[in-house]
């Protein structure tokens, strides 16, 4: 009798845990974009990556298409290289596409904005391992203020 009761209670404990895991899996967490088969890799060189971090998202018009997997510094020309892994299902961006580092909201996280370029004859699609040529760096607040003051100064003269 006692044994039976404890087994029932342990069973309920297990069910409760499964319910908690379901809640966490379905409502709380997103499944990470990962797995080698699902994605392909693109590289982009920026002059300045600002506050971009590994795991920041890559968006096309606000739709999440991938993630930043790593950020390294090119040892030859000392510019940051950002490795992007893009979902296989979003395939066929033309070579003329550009990427820029944007900020969501005033204080939000930085992410990679991906603008697909125009495709016309003679322009191939981006393949795994390609470098994106057209990049716009992150806006750095100090630089902006500096430019603003500089241009004000030159206006007054």
């Amino acid at each position: 009798m006692n044994k039976y009761k404890s087994e029932v209670l342990v069973g309920m404990f297990v069910v409760l845990t499964i319910a908690a895991v379901m809640l966490l899996a379905l409502k709380v967490a997103n499944q990470s974009v990962g797995g080698d088969g699902d994605t392909y890799t693109l590289y982009a060189k920026f002059d300045n990556i600002g506050g971009l971090k590994a795991r920041s998202s890559v968006k096309v018009g606000g739709v999440n298409v991938g993630r930043v997997t790593s950020i390294t510094l090119d040892q030859e020309d000392f510019t940051p290289v950002v490795e992007l892994s893009i979902l296989k299902s979003y395939d066929g961006f033309p070579e003329t596409s550009s990427v820029s580092i944007l900020t969501s909201g005033l204080l939000g996280e930085q992410y990679v904005g991906f603008q697909p370029g125009f495709s016309f004859d003679g322009v191939a699609n981006l393949k795994d391992g390609d470098y994106l040529q057209d990049t716009k760096s992150a806006l750095v607040l100090e630089d902006l203020i500096g430019q603003f003051l500089f241009s004000r100064g030159s206006d007054e003269e």
């Binding site: 044994k3 209670l9 297990v14 845990t17 908690a20 966490l24 709380v28 499944q31």
Partner: protein
């Protein structure tokens, strides 16, 4: 001279205790593959897991509610109350779930384990097992050990889930954060692989350490009422310190280094 001697004696004492504890742990771990032990382990999951459930659920609910209340008052100043969901969820999954569960577990189940095993020793039950040619490590220690390791991550997951619901209760139902943004921003921020799984790993490590300390303190206690009361106190103190210390190390390894 006396000073050095006392340091030496203490060091040797601690090292031999660690040695005995490791020996005990090995004995318990090697005792896994016995089918006979499964019902015993289930019974212990009932004792350490199910009986800790109430305190875990109540604490989780209140901690989630408090986090929502505190977080809201800060976030609303920046107009970022939409980020309440991820704030509550991340704090719970990464930190508070595993850590508070481990601390509560040490107080609720760990101390009980120490006292139970200590009293078994005092009433010669452990000696008696040995004389009956039954290995106490296999019969007494192993089921409790595995029960602790199984139960604590389960409790931590329940704690986090209840906490997030508690945050919803205060944040959404009471303070009027938008339901959609609570869940959707949470969902876009929280990573299953990073946040949830790392929380479970933390919790497993804490389970190992707390259960190990609790059982060893009981098994190694001096079998008098004073010795057992000392062992029980030490279980709670050592486990809490170990959990908090390890939490820092694990957090640094998991989230600190990009």
């Amino acid at each position: 001279m006396k000073f050095f001697q006392s340091i030496g004696a203490k060091t040797i004492g601690k090292l031999t205790a660690i040695g005995r504890a490791t020996y005990m742990l090995m004995g318990a771990l090697l005792a896994l593959p016995r089918l006979k032990n499964i019902p015993l382990t289930i019974k212990q999951v009932h004792v350490v897991g199910v009986q800790s459930l109430l305190i875990i659920i109540v604490s989780g609910l209140f901690i989630g509610m408090v986090m929502a209340l505190q977080g809201y008052t800060i976030l609303v100043d920046y107009g970022a109350e939409g980020s309440l969901g991820p704030m509550v969820a991340l704090s719970l999954l990464r930190e508070l779930g595993p850590v508070v569960t481990a601390l509560l577990f040490a107080g609720r189940a760990g101390s009980a384990l120490t006292a139970e095993i200590g009293l078994m020793k005092a009433t010669e039950q452990i000696s008696s097992l040995e004389m009956m040619a039954v290995d106490p490590l296999r019969r007494i220690v192993a089921p409790r050990f595995w029960a602790g390791i199984i139960s604590m991550p389960m409790l931590a997951l329940i704690f986090s889930a209840v906490g997030i619901l508690g945050g919803h209760l205060v944040g959404v139902d009471w303070l009027g954060v938008d339901v959609g943004s609570y869940w959707s921003i949470m969902q876009s921020t929280v990573e299953w692989g990073e946040d949830v799984v790392n929380g479970i790993i933390k919790s497993l490590v804490f389970a190992l350490v707390v259960t190990w300390i609790a059982i060893f303190k009981g098994y190694d206690s001096i079998p008098t009422s004073e010795g057992i009361s000392k062992a029980t106190t030490e279980t709670v103190v050592y486990s809490s310190l170990a959990v908090l210390g390890l939490d820092f190390v694990l957090t640094a390894l998991m989230f600190g280094i990009e």
